[in-house]
Symmetry: C2
Subunit: 332 residues, 2 copies
C-alpha cells in the first residue's frame, strides 16, 4: 500500500513523468489523447501530487500564514475569518498562528514561517519591537493588519482609529460630558496611538482640558484594574477596546458607581457580544471581517504580482450608540 507517485501514473498510462506533470499543471501543450489517458489513470489510481516535493521544486507552497496576538480575542479571530473566506476561494491554505501577545514568540513564528517558505504573511503584531520583521520583508510578502509598523514601508489594512475615536468624543461632548479618562491599551501599539491622537485632537477642538490618559493592555483584566485604581471619576471613561470597557464597568460597579447614571463608559471594536452586554455597550464598530478579507486580497495579488488597486487601505468605523453612555446634564 505504498503511496502513489507521478512515476506510477506515468508507467500505467504509458507516458513519461514529464507528460503527467504537464497535464497536472497545464504547463505545456499535451495531445488530447495522452491527456485523457493520463487524467483517467490519475483518477483510477487516486493519485495526488505530493505538495512537499512540489514546494521543494517550485519554491512556493500555496500557503499563507496569519500571526495574531491572541486567538481567544474574538476581534482577531473575526479578522481571521474574513481572510479565510477569501483565501479558500483562491485555493490557498491558511495557517493561523498565535503569538500570545509575546514579541519573542512572534519572532519565532515568523522565523518558522519563512523557513517553511510560506508564500505570504498576514500580520497583527504584538508590539512594535519586533527585530526581524523588517528583514522578513525582503523574503516574504507581508500585509500588516489592524496595526501598522511605522518603521517599515509595507502594505497595510487598518480601520480609521483616529476618526472613529474623534467621532466618539464629539458625540460624548455633544451629550454633555465635560471630563474624561482614557483607559488605553498597549502604549506602543499603532491602534492605541491612533486612538489617543483622535482623543486628544477632539478634546482640543472642544477646548476641554479636564482629562487623563492611562495605558494598560487590551484585556478585560487590564480595564478592570485601571478602573479600580482611578482616583477621580470623570463624566466619561473612554476605553481602548470593548474588553477593557467590560472590565472597567465591572470595576466601577464594584466601587458603587452606576453605569451610565454616574459615569458613562465606552468601548472600541463592537464585538458581537457588546450588543448583548448589560448595559449594552456604546462603542465604535470596526469592520473586522472586511479587514481580513481585504488584507488577504491585497496579499494574494501581491504574491501573484497582479497590479494592486491600492495596497494601503483605511476602512471606516461607525459610532454605535447604546446604553453605557448617557447624556450628562448640569452635573458639576
Amino acid at each position: 500500500m505504498r503511496k502513489i507517485t507521478i512515476r506510477d501514473i506515468a508507467r500505467e498510462a504509458g507516458v513519461s513523468p514529464s507528460t503527467v506533470s504537464r497535464v497536472i499543471n497545464n504547463s505545456a501543450p499535451v495531445s488530447k489523447e495522452l491527456k485523457e489517458r493520463v487524467l483517467s489513470t490519475i483518477k483510477k489510481l487516486g493519485y495526488n501530487p505530493n505538495p512537499i516535493a512540489q514546494s521543494l521544486r517550485k519554491g512556493f507552497t500555496n500557503t499563507i500564514g496569519f500571526i495574531i496576538p491572541d486567538i481567544t480575542n474574538p476581534f482577531f479571530s473575526l479578522i481571521v475569518k474574513g481572510a479565510e473566506e477569501y483565501l479558500k476561494r483562491k485555493k490557498m491554505f491558511l495557517i493561523v498562528c498565535n503569538s500570545n501577545h509575546s514579541v519573542k514568540e512572534e519572532e519565532r513564528l515568523l522565523q518558522t514561517l519563512m523557513e517553511r517558505k510560506t508564500d505570504g504573511l498576514l500580520f497583527i503584531g504584538a508590539g512594535n519591537r519586533n527585530k526581524i520583521i523588517s528583514t522578513s520583508l525582503d523574503k516574504m510578502k507581508i500585509v500588516f493588519v489592524d496595526r501598522v509598523y511605522e518603521k517599515c514601508k509595507a502594505p497595510y489594512v487598518v480601520s480609521n482609529n483616529y476618526k472613529g475615536m474623534k467621532n466618539l468624543i464629539d458625540y460624548l461632548v455633544d451629550t454633555g460630558h465635560k471630563s474624561f479618562v482614557f483607559l488605553n491599551g498597549e502604549k506602543n501599539t499603532y491602534s492605541a496611538k491612533e486612538r489617543l491622537r483622535g482623543f486628544l485632537d477632539a478634546l482640543k477642538e472642544h477646548k476641554i482640558e479636564e482629562y487623563e490618559v492611562v495605558f494598560g493592555q487590551f484585556t478585560y483584566e487590564s480595564g478592570f484594574a485601571l478602573a479600580k485604581g482611578l482616583k477621580k471619576i470623570p463624566d466619561a471613561i473612554v476605553c481602548g477596546n470593548d474588553l477593557m470597557a467590560y472590565g472597567a464597568i465591572d470595576a466601577l460597579e464594584e466601587r458603587g458607581y452606576k453605569v451610565p447614571d454616574d459615569v458613562s463608559v465606552t468601548g472600541f471594536d463592537d464585538l458581537p457580544f457588546s450588543k448583548h452586554y448589560k448595559p449594552s455597550l456604546t462603542t465604535v464598530r470596526q469592520p473586522f471581517y472586511e479587514m481580513g478579507y481585504e488584507a488577504a486580497k491585497i496579499l494574494y495579488r501581491l504574491i501573484n504580482s497582479k497590479p494592486n488597486i491600492e495596497t494601503n487601505v483605511v476602512l471606516e468605523t461607525k459610532l454605535v450608540i447604546r446604553e453605557t453612555a448617557k447624556p450628562k446634564g448640569g452635573r458639576r
Copy 2:
C-alpha cells in the same frame, strides 16, 4: 543573495555535506574538531536547514494540525492554547484550521493536512458525518478532543459531560426546580448526546417527568431563537453551553421574564466571560486548557511511539454556582 544550503557549509568548512548533516541531526558520531568547524561556519553564514527538503527526505514535518469548528468561540480557542503550550516546548509547529461548523470544509482541511504529511492531528469535529476521517486514521495519528466519534476507535480527550450535567440537574432539583427545558446543541454531536444522557438520567432518578428537550446549535443565536419559541416556561432552562444560555436569557428578558426570579437558566463550559455576565452564569466548568494540553501530550507520545499512560482521557467538570439559577420555593 542566494539561500545558503548544506553544500555551502560543507564547502566552507572543508567537509562533506553528510558530515554537516550528521552534526545538525546528531545522527552519527563526528570528531570534535570537525564538529566545531561545522558549527562555527553554520553560525558564520547564518545557515538554517530547509525544512521542506528535510520533510521530503525524512517523511515527516514536525507539524501538528488542529481542526476546530469555530475559531471565534473562546471555548475552542482556549483548548487550542493548551495544546499550543505543550507543543511549543516540544518544538512542534501547530497549525490551527477552522472548519466553520462545516463537515465539508473539515474534510477538505483533513485532506490537505494529510497530503502535506502533517505528523498528527488534534480534531474537534463539526458533526458526525465526516466520511474520510476513518480512512485518515490509517495515515495519520489523530486524537479526538471534546467530541468523540463513536464509529472509530481512536484516542480521545473529553470532559465528563455526562456527570457534569447530572450534577447540575441534581443541584437544580435540590434547590426546588420541578420542571425543565433542555435547549441542546447539535443533535449529532458527542457532547450534546452525553449531556442529554446526564440530563435524562438525573431526571429519572428524581422521578421528574415534566421536561422537554429541544435541539439547535451551540451558538448565541440558536439559544435566543429556541428560547423565543418556547411555549411553556419551566422552572429551569438548561442550555447546551454558555453561549446558548446568553442567548436564552436575552430572549427571556425580551419576553418579560426575569432571570433568575421567574426562571432559572444554566450554561455549560464556564467561559471566562460567564463570571462577568449579568446576571453571572450558573454553569459547569470544563477544563479547556487541560483538554488541549493533555490531547497534545497524548498525540506527541503516539507519534514518537512512546508508551502512553492512557490514551482515553475523561476529565472532570465542576459545578459553578452563580446567579442565574435561584432556589425555587412553593411555586406551582
